[in-house]
């Protein structure tokens, strides 16, 4: 599915009792500029259509060259009109301040989508945990540079063990 491709249209409120609070997280997807955000829409639509995620809120954060973060609604960004046809909700959960805070992940001069999702793909794990009285307690996306460092360190350690 390419940019601008029509996606499933299904409007209607999300049943709040149906949202598994253990699975709600936010994702910040950064692009070099606002115009590039449009390329994210088909992928987001596919994830929703496949039932991988449920969209609970979306907003746009733009970080100026001075470091200040501006928050925009998706309706105000013309190139994001494709999002209107994606099943989900907007505006109900993330506050202005929430989006601005998440926007601190952007480099100055870039733009990003701040997306609050219910990660439906993790439902089986959540159910399994609940079955024994547990639950998914949290998580955090690890900065890629740290992961790369850890992988190099592991490889170095493996080399040392072998030598």
């Amino acid at each position: 599915m390419g940019p601008g491709t029509p996606v499933r249209v299904e409007h209607g409120p999300i049943d709040t009792d149906d949202v598994n609070p253990d699975l709600v997280e936010y994702v910040v997807v950064v692009t070099p500029d606002v115009a590039s955000l449009a390329t994210l829409v088909p992928a987001l639509a596919d994830l929703v259509a496949d039932g991988q995620i449920r969209l609970l809120d979306v907003a746009v954060a733009v970080r100026g060259d001075d470091g200040a973060v501006e928050v925009h609604e998706v309706e105000a960004v013309e190139i994001l009109t494709g999002l209107r046809d994606v099943e989900g909700e907007v505006g109900g959960l993330l506050s202005q301040e929430d989006v601005a805070t998440a926007g601190h992940a952007l480099r100055p001069g870039t733009a990003g989508l701040v997306v609050l999702v219910e990660s439906r793909w993790a439902e089986p794990l959540s159910e399994a945990a609940r079955g024994v009285g547990g639950h998914i307690v949290g998580g955090e996306r690890i900065p890629p540079g740290w992961v790369a460092d850890a992988l190099v360190q592991r490889a170095d350690a493996d080399d040392q063990e072998r030598s």
């Binding site: 099943e87 505006g91 959960l93 998440a102």
Partner: protein, 72 residues
Amino acid sequence: MRRVRRVRRTEVDLVPRPPLGALDAVSGEGHPGLAPADQLDELTDLWRRGLLTRALFERQRALVLQTWARRH
């Protein structure tokens, strides 16, 4: 998408601190940059436990974020 509110609320509710990778993304720094995130985690914990008023939480949080932004 269905719009739930026409105007977003302004108070911090769900995202009390930037993502862990924020400093890494902005400055390329690694673990030493965790301190502000730790401060915000502590503030959030105090707020959630009812030991800080919302106003005080917001004020302290703004101070941490301003310091963070000034550095980067």
